[in-house]
């Protein structure tokens, strides 16, 4: 055993409590320790992923009480793959913001890095936990650190965005509590595996009501359509790396929660259709809203929402191919959208308004950044031979295999809209004259490394997708096999 899933939570918390003390010794510690912790988490998750290849899913028991009595953490191929992705992105976000301009002040830097680290931890916890209420706690950890990070920049309208986020988040947590309590009163347990096992005994109406409350609650974090009003504002106003972390880490965790609940806990067929319909609406509304945006990050935000809608559609197909496609989409979207947020924030660096027109002519002044943005744009449109193509292909062929011809057509038509708004920006970067009052800002070396490594992944996976498809396929198998999940956890008792 190389480590334990519980360290994903314990070590960052220890570090978080330690940082204020270490900061009194040497101020640089507040920047270095989170990086070390995130790096450790990445190493840990990679080694655990390798471990479970041969030894099977790890079910970690906490405080000595096996499920369903105690809380447990599950490191399965599915949650493990997501954990690896999240910790990797977390590390890159840390790297990108290591020398972030505002962080010269000690106090904000401390806050920023603690919140960032705990946001990643919370997301990882959401993915790993096997207990419903524990998931609620982790969702709150993620949300509160999200509020703090969103309003990090004092001069922008960031507080407004954070307040909207908070309002929605508060509603969501209330609804989630109601949903959890309905389940508890019916089944008397909070362990997800046991809930899943005993779900058939539950009264049908209670089942539906609890699912509705939980879906609405998690839908807020997962950016499903009518609940995602906060998302564009938050993405626009949060610091660039935080936007990347939001779309790459937090939302992924929320979608995970959504999927775990629908696929594993409940046995309602209609829930898949719900995912399909809501995902489709989210996708269409977000992509069409993105078309006429004037601010770069807001446009990226809508695109991000749209991509998550796509992932939900893929989950809603309900077959193994669909799950495979959805996981692939989540993976590629996390990587590509982070690349876009990273490079996009430098393209509109100096302006707080972040209008798209500020990128005019930046191709000449920031050639590498502009190139990386273009790469990301091409990849997210789904042009081969970049990474986005393979995931889109997987989605479409999964839909076609399930005979959803209309769905394929709609997705493709809306994808054209997506291509249009991305290419408009790319054209501006390279072929428009620079506006007189914009000053290009060269990326720091750390940011450059982060962006280049993301771009390398986009290219390498694009040319050789086999690097990740095996992993994703195992994860999809894992998710589809509900009986094994229940058995593995409850046998630990």
């Amino acid at each position: 055993m190389v480590g334990s899933p519980v360290l994903f939570v314990a070590i960052p918390l220890l570090a978080a409590f330690l940082i204020p003390l270490m900061g009194m010794i040497w101020k640089e510690f507040v920047r270095i320790i989170p990086g070390l912790v995130l790096a450790y988490m990445l190493v840990l998750s990679v080694s655990l992923i390798i471990y479970i290849q041969s030894h099977g899913t790890i079910v970690e028991v906490i405080s000595g009480w096996g499920p369903p009595v105690g809380i447990n953490l599950v490191f399965s191929p599915f949650s493990g793959a997501l954990t690896t992705l999240m910790t990797f992105l977390g590390l890159l976000v840390w790297l990108y913001s290591h020398k972030f301009k505002r962080n010269v002040d000690y106090e904000p830097a401390k806050k920023y890095f603690i919140l960032l680290m705990l946001m990643v931890t919370g997301s990882v916890g959401m993915v790993l936990t096997g207990d419903l209420f524990n998931m609620f706690v982790f969702i709150e950890i993620v949300s509160i650190s999200g509020y703090g990070l969103t309003s990090f920049f004092v001069r922008r309208d960031s507080a407004e965005a954070a307040f909207k986020f908070l309002l929605m988040g508060a509603f969501a947590s209330s609804f989630l509590l109601i949903g959890i309590m309905i389940i508890y009163t019916q089944l008397g347990t909070l362990n997800m595996a046991e809930i899943a096992q005993r779900m058939p005994q539950m009264d049908y109406h209670m089942k539906v009501f609890s699912l509705i409350f939980i879906l609405v609650a998690i839908g807020v974090e997962a950016e499903t359509f009518p609940l995602n009003g906060w998302a564009p504002d938050v993405y626009t106003q949060a610091p660039g790396p935080i936007s990347a972390a939001m779309s790459g880490i937090v939302v992924k965790a929320a979608v995970y929660a959504n999927i775990r609940i629908i696929y594993t806990m409940y046995d309602l067929q209609g829930a898949y259709e719900y995912l399909l319909i809501i995902g489709l609406i989210t996708f269409i509304v977000a992509e069409t809203a993105a078309l006429k945006q004037e601010r770069l990050k807001r446009m990226l935000a809508y695109s991000s929402i749209g991509q998550m809608g796509l992932a939900m559609i893929a989950f809603g197909i309900g077959t193994k191919e669909g799950v495979y496609a959805a996981l692939f989409l989540m993976f590629s979207h996390a990587i590509i959208k982070s690349l876009l947020f990273f490079s996009g924030s430098y393209l509109v660096y100096n302006k707080t308004s972040k209008y798209i027109k500020h990128v005019n002519g930046m191709g000449k002044y920031l050639p590498i950044t502009a190139f990386l943005f273009t790469l990301g744009a091409f990849a997210i449109i789904g042009l081969p031979p970049f990474m986005g193509f393979w995931s889109k292909l997987a989605l479409l062929s999964a839909a076609a295999d399930s005979n959803l011809v209309i769905l394929v057509a709609v997705i493709l038509v809306v994808s054209i809209v997506e291509a249009v708004y991305y290419l408009r920006v790319v054209n501006r970067i390279f072929f428009f004259k620079k506006r007189a009052n914009t000053k290009p800002e060269k990326p720091t070396i750390n940011a450059m490394i982060a962006m280049l490594s993301l771009a390398a992944i986009v290219l390498v996976i694009g040319f050789y997708p086999d690097l990740v498809t095996g992993l994703i396929e195992r994860a999809a198998d894992d998710l589809m096999d509900k009986g094994r999940y229940i058995g593995e956890i409850l046998s630990k008792n």
Binding site: F133, V137, E140, S143, I144, Y147, G148, S151, V154, D157, A159, E160, A161, A162, F163, K164, L166, L167, G169, A170, F171, S173, S174, L177, I178, I180, M181, Y184, T185, L190, P232, D233, T236, Q237, A289, Q293
Partner: protein, 123 residues
């Protein structure tokens, strides 16, 4: 006794739902940011009340094995909702604190507390 229990049921659940609805009403219609935050708190209270009520056992005692109650486990109310409520209260407190600090920031920035005037970010 049975009759009173029915009344009690309606009274407790009714007040929990009423709190939730009052909180929602406040959060959805009041213009002042402070009142919205208050609404959220009220809604939380309603939910906490509901949670506790759901764990109630007819004629039950507190789930504490103090002297004389060592063997009355069957008579104890469900302790789990109480534990959950504890967590939920703390989390609700944390959210409220952050919300209030955001309200302060917004007031600093916009010089107003009316939520319909704070719409710099839209579309």
């Amino acid at each position: 006794m049975e009759k009173y229990l029915d009344i009690l049921e309606i009274a407790i659940y009714g007040s929990a739902v009423a709190l939730i609805l009052i909180g929602l009403y406040g959060a959805l219609t009041k213009k002042s940011l402070i009142k919205i935050v208050l609404g959220l708190s009220i809604m939380d209270s309603g939910i906490h009340l509901m949670m506790i009520a759901l764990g109630y056992l007819k004629g039950g005692t507190a789930p504490i094995f103090s002297k004389g109650f060592e063997n009355s486990a069957d008579q104890m109310v469900d302790p789990i909702p109480q534990a959950l409520v504890l967590t939920a209260i703390v989390i609700g407190f944390g959210v409220t604190a952050v919300a209030l600090s955001l309200v302060i920031r917004l007031y600093r920035h916009h010089d107003t507390l009316r939520i319909d005037e704070i719409k710099n970010l839209k579309w």
